[in-house]
Amino acid sequence: MGYKSWGGDMNASAGARMPHEGDKDAARACLRLPGLERCVRGTLGRGRRAARAPLGAGPSRGNAGSRRKWGSCPAARPRQGWGPGAASAVVRSGRPDAVPDPMPTPPPESAARGNSRVPGMVLKAFFPTCCASADSGLLVGRWVPEQTSAVVLAVVHFPFIPIQVKELLARVQQASQVGVAVLGTWCHRRQDAEESLGHFLEGLGAIFSHEPWLQLCRERGSKFWSCKATRRQAPTCPGAPGEDQVMLVFYDQRKVLLSQLHPPVALPDHQAGDAVAGAGGLAAVFDTVARSEELFRSDRFDEGPVRLSHWQSEGVEASILAELAKRASGPICLLLGGLLSLVSAASACRVLQLWPLSFIWSKLSTCEQLRHRLEQLTFVFSTQKAENPTQLMRKANVLVSVLLDVALGLALLSWLHGKDRIGHLAEALVPVADHVAEELQHLLQWLMGAPAGLKMNRALDQVLGRFFLYHLHLWISYIHLMSPFIERILWHVGLSACLGLTVALSILSDIIALLTFHIYCFYVYGARLYCLKICGLSSLWRLFRGKKWNVLRQRVDSCSYDLDQLFIGTLLFTILLFLLPTTALYYLVFTLLRLLVVAVQGLIHVLVDLINSLPLYSLGLRLCRPYRLAAGVKFRVLEHEADRPLRLLMQINPLPFSHVIRTYRLPSCGCHPTHSWGSLCRKLFFGELIYPWRQKGDKRD
């Protein structure tokens, strides 16, 4: 092409300083368009020169403001908006993925042709705060026609060659799939009003045609902003003016880039009427900023043909360490993944899947916990990359939870193995088991008398009591047989704490289950007997009334019985009725004991589940970097004057902690209470066996 630039070379432009611009380099871009030759004179941003200077050299005069952060800009300081009349509206966004794909942004012609603008609808310009003190130039961003909002992503400084800007934009568009375009011009007046600049900026609209054409201008006092949006073509509505009302919304580019918008918990409560962006619009803004990361990749040391002003990272301080970790993570993942697959292959061995063993595995909570951990670790160390931020967050959560678990486990291990605590524990364990058995014996003897003055059937009472006493006797002898080995068993079990606190807790739960096996047996006997009686009584009661249960229609029908059926049924009914209190009492006592044990085990399970499923990484992120997890945004009014554009500051509303937990909860190990309280009481009443912590696999059979 015939473009010729002599502002492109810095050395050349350094000498061409304009006399009336004290602190700026003047540059001239000579554009030779087909049929039109114009010589434009633009201001030259100083950022480029600063970038060229060695790091140690101080910036030239006036240079300090060039990359000023938001907080140093007095006009835009958020506190200023907190006047008595300051309004603060909270706008939450909708689900980000529910937004129609904003990728193919219509080119300016189609935007103008479609002209979806409703007359009187305010044009929203989202402007990054870090560009507030940038030098004059072009506004690069994305136009969202559905919301009539313009998301400014960066400012291109003078001088530039239009074709290079277009090339850059095309590249970014290809990489990020976001329709980035030149939206308008940005004029930062540092000293005097520059008439020539204004004309020049207006002229740029002819080169980068966009509809509407934004003209942002910041006055010298840095207090006053003006913003115009002009439409070149006549608006569809004849009565509407050619200029739109514009509302400036400042946003922190870094925070918006890093934050992740979450679906709202409740419907938004529009406090004021100035809910600028709808749910979809906000998501579109977030999405646009997040996707155009390609645009921000160049930092201030880059030397490209086009100089941009946008948010830039502070520089990676620990870059060597980070780089090393990044390099090392691949092989480490590969190695650990291989190890884990070996372990899982060993655990899937056929010998271990035979009937009695597989049954035992499914009943021991330790095995469940180990399996769960194995799955989690396999997930973390899988070599495939996380596809979306949610999955990445899940990986981080799992990793942090595992690390914390192992750390706690090691602490427990060191505590246990110091000062011979295991020996003390083992010595204490056998007397405790003995004591429990003795107490049970007393309880049974009390039941065999007339407990609480209840009238029990003496014969049945004696039979049941003797049966249970014999069982208890068996149990006590078993405990005594085991007692010499208990210390060694405990020592080995204690070692397992290095696999994590949760594993140790699961083993504790299993030990409790094994030591209270007699209580479980009593409960099962009592429940079976009681269930038999209850079922028999309910069906015999139907016979007593001359009814029967119709299985086909699932209802009670009347039925004519034979004489002998009636007689035997009534005889059995009477007997069962009079024997019921005795069985019910035994059942009640043993159920209470069983519930006690279950409650203890349930507490341990809850603790394990807490460690397993708490999203610690997300919680830490929410605590330290609240903007990373956004629930929505709120707007603060910075300036509201009659004839000036309304200026708002968009701030990110952090996600509430409860919502963080709900969103990022890790799946627990599959042991969960299956009963509601009502069904539990019902089952207890009818004597059905209750297993409060059912394993996941049970549903299959």
Binding site: N457, R545, L566, F567, L571, I575
Partner: protein, 297 residues
């Protein structure tokens, strides 16, 4: 316009239809309204002696309960040897069994299709189960208070009398429930007896008097009404005699009850029937006389 309806002339007579527009208010009726009034269409004239005869079923059942209680009292006091009761019961059962077939000449048996082998099986089941469970029955209610047992038995026997099928066509009647209640009461009372043999014999006797005896009565009443009246009188007097041997006051009260049920109540019923005044007319709800069951299938 000559076809103008003559609605407002005098000839427009009121019709009892809703499908035609008539110049009368909706609630209009004419003079003929009360012409259709009918009285006591379904009322029945009762003959005094017929009612007395029908009331004998109630008498029989009351006497059965009374005899059962008296026998139980004798057993509980030890005045009646269980073997003697068993023997008598067995003999009367055999006689009753033979009579049962003789009365209608075996027609009922043919109709029900029940074989003698089935009867024998039923008898065996009764005997075996009762005998097997009698030790359990003996100790069943040991720890329960005697008053509780008495209250329960009284309640069950009253239930038996209430739900018994006296031949009335009512919803409350349930012969199954009635029989079950009687058996329940007999088991409760039997568990109070001193030995398990007593309990066994008591339950067997309950079966005979509450299950088998009404079946024979029903057949007697249907086939030979005269002998039925005789049997009823005999049964009532024997029950009264038994009660008299225990308590005179009880016997007098029971006799008064029987007399009032068999004589006073029928008399009162026939007298009250004279005051019956049921009116029927066009205001009754519609009754479909036609058999519509063919539409159902």
């Amino acid at each position: 316009m000559g076809t103008q309806p003559v609605a407002d002339t005098e000839e427009a007579k009121w019709q009892k239809v809703l499908y035609e527009r008539q110049p009368f208010p909706d609630n209009y009726v004419d003079r003929r309204f009360l012409e259709e009034l009918r009285k006591n269409i379904h009322a029945r004239k009762y003959q005094y002696w017929a009612v007395v005869f029908e009331s004998s079923v109630v008498i029989q059942q009351l006497c059965s309960v009374c005899v059962f209680v008296v026998i139980w009292w004798y057993m509980d006091e030890g005045l009646l040897a269980p073997q003697w009761l068993f023997g008598t019961g067995l003999a009367s059962s055999l006689i009753g069994y033979v009579l049962f077939d003789l009365i209608d000449g075996g027609e009922g048996r043919k109709k029900s299709g029940r074989t003698r082998w089935a009867d024998l099986k039923s008898a065996l089941v009764f005997i075996t189960f009762t005998y097997g469970f009698s030790p359990v029955l003996k100790t069943l209610t040991e720890s329960v208070s005697t008053d509780t047992i008495y209250a329960m038995s009284v309640f069950m026997l009253l239930g038996h009398l209430i739900f018994f099928d006296y031949g009335a066509n009512a919803a409350i009647v349930s012969s199954t429930l009635s029989l079950n209640m009687a058996i329940f009461a007999s088991v409760c009372l039997a568990s109070r007896l001193p030995r398990s043999l007593h309990a066994f014999i008591m339950v067997t006797f309950a079966i005979q008097i509450f299950a088998l005896w009404p079946m024979l009565q029903k057949k007697l009443k249907a086939c030979t009404p005269r002998s039925y009246v005789g049997v009823t009188l005999l049964f009532a007097f024997s029950a009264l005699g038994g009660l008299l041997s225990i308590s005179a006051v009880g016997a007098v009260l029971f006799a008064l009850l029987l007399v009032s049920i068999s004589c006073l109540c029928p008399f009162y019923l026939t007298r009250l029937q004279l005051f019956k005044e049921n009116i029927h007319g066009p205001w009754d709800e519609a009754e479909i006389k036609e058999d519509l069951s063919r539409f159902l299938s």
